[in-house]
Amino acid sequence: MMMLVAKLRWGADAPQDTATARARLLDAAEACFQRYGVVKTTVEDVAATAKVSRATVYRYFANREDLILGVLLREAGRFLGRLTVEINREPSFDRAVVESVLFTVDAVRADQNLALLFAPEAVGLTTSLAGASEALFELTADFLRPLFEDARASGEMCADIDLDEAAEWTLRAVLSLITIQGPVERDRVRQRSFLSTFLVPALAARPATRSPRRRHGPTPPTSSRRPSAELASRPVTSPQGRPKSA
């Protein structure tokens, strides 16, 4: 009976299981994104392309946003396999981080489907979906965790950063570079130096802390110039003496 219902819904070649059904709907969504653009694609379009009813699409995906996220996650999953090969080539943790971010940004721009998701009219939608997506974060964090754990074991990773926060920070760097090409177009060398300067310090052990003497704890504050406690305890006042708003 189930097979019969499925056949009625999908026509002659009904998918054998949920995964196949989802995959076919994602294929249809990708075809629609190519044809109409991401923003203009409707659930109706995807249903028509897959030759099913709209209700059938809704059985597998809650809405159009869920379809977009589905395409993103599927492409990301495929991509991470290639990235593993790339990371294993790098001689150090610092380089592995920088090169994997650059490789990812290039891959997204080169990928037919991903490039569409990050095209100007779609990028706001995609970024807010991607940033809010537990699933994309989990995928990234699961992928990076072994790299981070190895680096922590070898003393190359900063001792006090939480590994999930490290993964989130890396994902944000990737999304930022994909989304915003930047005020200046950078060549490869400058991209590398940008990442080494601003992404790596959060993740990598500081050179001084790599000596066995200091490896096991965060560097104690060495200068009275770090005013955080002092600032925090100071009463909050408006510097211009303007009255505080209610």
Binding site: P120, S176, T179, A246
Partner: protein, 219 residues
């Protein structure tokens, strides 16, 4: 309409009074160049009315007659003063950015340390997320964000850089912040802020930034 929020943002960032940095007057480059130009103050009522409509209906669903109705004046006057809805939106953006930047030197008077930069990022992020127009766009019109990021962002970074560079250079000269190219550092800080505005981190914002941004700034 927005000055109480900017005041509140200023309240979040307490200037540090660390010794050792001379309190020289800072050169503040004119913000009136480039696109979109900073609108004169007499456009404020038009921009306030536009902002009220944008926050209510979204930018895409606001028309010039809506703005005129909000003010109780003719649409011709609105067209003559601020142009189309898109031009009004760009003028509003220019005004909000200018208001924010114009008070940075005062807010950050005295020494800037890495922690001050973090506090500023937190304050800007909260300000942006709570801004009624941006909140509406993020919720209902995310398709407007992409063209902004590609179209207006370079000019936005240039304007932030113009104001932030002398402040950061002073902090670097005083040995408070790791020496970097101020323009590149500013771009990094703008990227971080946009990332936080577009997708807020789940936990404590300041704690997250202490872990991630501080190491790139601290000496």
């Amino acid at each position: 309409v927005y000055s109480p929020e900017i005041d509140r943002m200023a309240d979040c960032v307490t200037p540090s009074e660390e010794p050792g940095v001379p309190d020289e007057p800072l050169y503040l480059p004119s913000l009136a160049h480039g696109l979109p130009p900073v609108p004169p103050a007499d456009l404020d009522p038009y921009l306030d009315a536009a902002a009220a409509c944008f926050a209510r209906h979204g930018i895409g669903r606001t028309s010039v007659p809506d703005i005129a109705r909000e003010l109780g004046i003719s649409r011709t006057t609105v067209y003559r003063q601020v142009g189309t809805v898109e031009q009004a939106a760009r003028l509003l953006l220019a005004r909000e950015l200018h208001r924010f930047l114009a008070q940075l030197p005062a807010v950050l008077a005295g020494a800037i340390g890495p922690e001050t930069v973090i506090r500023l990022l937190v304050a800007v992020t909260l300000f942006a997320r709570e801004h009624p127009v941006l909140a509406k766009v993020l919720a209902d019109e995310p398709e407007l964000i992409g063209p902004f990021l590609t179209g207006e962002l370079p000019e936005l970074v240039r304007r932030v850089t113009a104001v932030a560079t002398p402040l950061l250079e002073r902090a670097m000269a005083a040995g408070l912040v790791q020496r970097r190219d101020p323009a590149v550092l500013t771009e990094f800080l703008v990227r971080v802020t946009l990332s936080l505005v577009l997708s807020p981190p789940p936990g404590d914002l300041a704690g997250f930034l202490d872990q991630t941004v501080l190491p790139a700034l601290a000496r």
